[in-house]
């Protein structure tokens, strides 16, 4: 495929976390249909650099849809108009010559803007630190084949473990809830034998941390699932809710 196009970009710019941000308008020309969305932004940024203007700061890295670094709300949708891909996998052939494209950062209280389109997602790491693991030290583990796992369980676990931690679920949710992200990790371990000993402690600790960090509640709008680039299912949320309920029955940490 070939052919080039010209576009108008309305991009959110914000100097730092404390500054007031706003949209700025840019024009880009001669964009190849085969270029990726981020390559289009690269071209804009090179033009800005040549003029001595600071380029638009956006997060990206692998450009293969796996590292979870890229974000961007494009024309109102996290990761742009296509389903089940990340922004870095979006190609310009899905836009038309003359289009106006609105580009914004993730917006959530728990993801404050750092600069332009870059937000701080360390709250996700903090949730994992609270319990998103199997407590096993290096060494002293049994032979890998001593732990048998059915194909069905491994498929369910892998579906959940495919989460890339990008935060699109939070950005898509009107409540900025992190339930899809948290439930994916909870589910991965909940369906595996390795996760059983800490199953209820884990969900309790992770949900507690999630609440402390300012993420909203889940009101079952399914927006998270619709925007997830990896197709993480809301079934995980249902599983987490069940486990969370059980954890409250079994828990020793009774709050009066």
């Amino acid at each position: 495929m070939s052919g080039n196009m010209n576009l108008t970009l309305k991009i959110w710019r914000q100097k730092n976390a404390n500054a007031v941000g706003g949209f700025e308008t840019f024009n880009v020309k001669n964009i190849s249909l085969d270029s990726s969305f981020l390559e289009m932004l690269d071209i804009l940024n090179e033009e800005l650099e040549l003029k001595g203007v600071e380029p638009v700061a956006f997060e990206h890295d692998c450009r293969e849809g796996i590292c979870g670094a890229c974000s961007l709300v494009i024309n109102g949708r996290p990761h742009g108009p296509l389903d089940k891909i990340t922004t870095c996998q979006l190609h310009m052939r899905h836009f038309k010559d003359g289009d106006i494209i609105w580009i914004e950062p993730w917006r959530a209280k728990a993801f404050p803007v750092i600069k332009d389109l870059i937000v701080d997602r360390t709250s996700f790491d903090k949730i994992i630190q609270a319990g998103g693991f199997v407590s096993v030290d290096t060494g002293g583990v049994p032979d890998a084949n001593a732990i048998l796992i059915s194909k069905e369980s491994i498929e369910t676990a892998t579906d959940a473990a495919a989460c890339i931690g990008c935060g699109a679920c939070v950005a898509a949710c009107k409540n900025a809830s992190a339930m899809l992200f948290v439930s994916a990790k909870v589910s991965q371990f909940a369906v595996l034998p390795q996760g059983q000993p800490e199953r209820y402690l884990r969900v309790e600790a992770m949900v507690k941390r999630m609440d402390e960090l300012g993420f909203g509640s889940c009101t079952n709008t399914y927006a998270c699932e619709a925007e997830c680039p990896k197709g993480i299912s809301i079934r995980n949320i249902a599983r987490m809710n069940r486990d969370y309920f059980m954890s409250k029955i079994k828990s020793e940490n009774v709050e009066m």
């Binding site: 040549l50 380029p55 700061a57 293969e64 996998q89 870059i118 360390t122 290096t138 583990v141 890339i164």
Partner: protein, 637 residues
């Protein structure tokens, strides 16, 4: 002058690591908390090392330039991780994995290191399974294996096409657990810019806070670099956009000798270029070669659609040249075969710079369902990027820079030539020789982090007398001043070219002259061109913004400045090595059939380069002794 001692333990190959573990000094459990260790980088090697060291009781500080440790580029590895479990009962053993890896590296790696890697490979699988890494399973619940290039056994463990992600998330979860327990202090968005050397030993690092621009000091008793490889020197590569050589290169300039820089791997199964707006190349797992057949039209310039080219007018290049290994020939060989076909005018697609990878036969033989299970997401990815459906039309692939076998020289204990500075994973040079086999990078990263460094660093700490070094030591001040000067200089040039523009030019020089095929004249030209380009960079680059906040232009400029020095060293090293081996193919040194001609008499050594000043290095040779496996001509025919 630096003297290199590889510290390879004596004895039979099977006993070296076991004996060494016994002979190494131990740190009393109660004393471990008195030692501070810095780990830079949170990929497989860094995250696994940090977690394992913290579990032992050391105080660990971790730095990464990413917003989260989970973003490290290990995450992008697709295919799998090797181990000598021999679960399929097909004749695998530690010795065979050792043999395959040493041979795959074209006999340019250390026997003892490679054997240890094979030896601990099985522990890696056990460890990852215990962490809840979802490796693929058979119906009976046991682990499944697949084959990879350069091996005749199925020893690769995998999780769909996201093995790297799953292993990294495993290591990340172990690291996160230690952060939660307070044993690891995690600093994200920090770019290490200098190693601080006090009285000849590494005692800390200086890093830039990428959000505030502040230069921060971190002191410790030992430093581990796990900062990955340098394929981005080619500009277009399969590496992530942030991947860079800066941490390793700054350490090199401080005295860590750099080994085998010219050993770079060009991966055969990548998506071809779409045009000059391209920012990076996308890799597709080599596992595709299990069921895909590589071919080109027999006649040069044949522009017919692939389905219109009958079977007898196709050249299945790998199957023809290498009947035993066929489409699973090692990466360097497969890449070169593709390049040769394109050079002969048989390349396909608009640019003529691609070969077909065809699944039609496998789909017929195994059914769509099986192929979909194995490669479904790779097929989707291909279609997403190229807008072509690989179920109907063969994929087009072309080689791309992928992995760098060269790196900081380390001894058997993973310590560099700066005492107290350890280097892990792709950042070191140690295990893959002149070519790395598929599914061995994940293995090495985790071997170094989980099972080697926790032992060897203890030996160093227990055997060293440490003076007190705090953040306010004058050496730190000196490094901070140097970095501030460099920042000021970069921001003040205000020239006419962007950093990316210069980086692209460097990439073209590297690809054309220090790429898949090299020769004396090209390498000499490359050295000159890189020097000129480096000069131009320092006269004519334009870096906007300030050093006092988040400045992506400044970050990039610093990294490209380092690539402009490293690129030269790669060419210098390639010029010194008058032989062909693995990924280093010198056109002057080949057999009549075009196979690489190694010269074991003269070049069975590691080229370790000591930095004198920009553009001036001294070569130190570490000779490679093959006690157990005699080098033979590497044949995959």
């Amino acid at each position: 002058m630096i003297k290199l001692d590889s510290k390879i333990p004596p004895g039979q190959i099977q006993e070296k690591w076991t004996n060494h573990k016994f002979n190494m000094k131990l740190v009393n459990p109660a004393n471990k908390r008195k030692y501070d260790i810095i780990v830079v980088g949170t990929g497989l090697a860094g995250a696994s090392a940090a977690a394992s060291l913290a579990e032992l009781g050391y105080n660990v500080t971790v730095l990464t330039y990413h917003d989260s440790p989970r973003r490290a580029h290990s995450i992008a590895a697709q295919g799998g991780v090797n181990a000598a479990k021999n679960y399929p009962n097909d004749g695998d053993s530690i010795y065979r994995l050792f043999y395959d890896t040493l041979k795959g590296g074209d006999y340019r790696s250390r026997e003892a290191n490679v054997y240890r890697l094979a030896e601990v490979s099985n522990n890696i699988i056990d460890q990852c399974v215990a962490q809840g890494v979802p490796f693929a399973r058979e119906y009976g619940g046991h682990l499944d294996n697949r084959s990879f290039g350069g091996a005749l056994v199925s020893r690769t463990f995998y999780s769909r096409s996201i093995t790297g992600q799953q292993l990294l998330l495993g290591a990340y979860s172990a690291l996160s657990r230690q952060v939660g327990l307070g044993k690891i202090k995690m600093f994200t968005r920090r770019e290490m810019l200098e190693v601080v050397v006090v009285d000849g030993t590494a005692r800390g690092v200086v890093a830039r806070n990428l959000v505030t621009g502040e230069i921060e000091n971190y002191s410790a008793h030992a430093v581990c670099l796990a900062t990955g490889g340098y394929s981005r020197v080619f500009y277009l590569s399969t590496n992530a956009m942030y991947c860079n050589a800066t941490a390793a290169w700054r350490a090199h300039k401080k005295g860590a000798v750099f080994a085998n820089p010219c050993f770079t791997q060009i991966h055969p199964t990548c998506l071809p270029l779409h045009g000059d707006q391209q920012s990076k190349l996308t890799l597709m797992s080599e596992s595709l070669r299990n069921d895909g057949r590589v071919w080109v039209p027999l006649k040069p310039g044949d522009k017919r659609k692939p389905k219109d080219i009958p079977e007898r007018e196709r050249d299945y290049i790998l199957e023809r040249k290498y009947p035993t290994y066929g489409n699973l020939a090692p990466r360097d060989i497969s890449s070169r075969a593709a390049k040769e076909a394109c050079d002969e005018g048989k390349g396909v697609g608009d640019t003529g710079q691609a070969v077909y990878l065809d699944f039609a036969d496998s789909i017929k033989r195994l059914g769509k369902k099986v192929i979909d299970e194995r490669y479904g997401n790779l097929f989707e990815m291909y279609e997403l990027i190229t807008a072509e459906n690989p179920w109907e039309v063969p994929m087009r692939i072309y080689p791309a820079p992928h992995y760098t076998m060269g790196g900081i020289w380390v001894d058997y204990n993973l310590m560099s030539s700066i005492p107290g500075l350890f280097v892990l994973g792709e950042a070191n040079f140690s295990d893959h020789g002149a070519n790395r086999l598929g599914a061995s990078a994940l293995m090495q990263g985790l071997a170094d982090g989980y099972f080697v460094i926790p032992y060897t660093i203890g030996d160093y700490l227990a055997g060293t007398k440490f003076g007190t070094v705090k953040n306010d030591n004058p050496e730190f001040k000196k490094e901070v001043d140097n970095i501030n000067d460099l920042t000021k200089k970069l921001l003040s040039i205000k020239g006419k070219r962007t950093t990316d523009d210069i980086h692209r030019q460097l990439g073209r020089i590297m690809w054309n002259k220090v790429g898949m095929a090299r020769n004396e004249k090209g390498l000499k030209d490359a050295i000159k061109e890189i020097r000129d380009l480096r000069e131009e960079f320092w006269q004519n680059v334009n870096v906007p913004g300030s050093g006092e906040d988040l400045n992506i232009s400044l970050e990039k400029a610093g990294r490209v400045a380092d690539f402009l020095e490293l690129g030269e060293l790669m060419a210098v090293d390639g010029l010194d090595r008058n032989e062909s081996c693995g990924g280093h193919f010198r056109e002057e040194y080949q057999y009549e059939d075009g196979e690489a001609k190694r010269n074991d008499k003269k070049y069975a050594y590691v080229s370790a380069w000591e930095y004198k000043k920009a553009g001036d290095w001294k070569l130190i040779k570490e000779s490679l002794n093959f006690e157990f496996l005699k080098p033979t001509v590497r044949s995959y025919k």
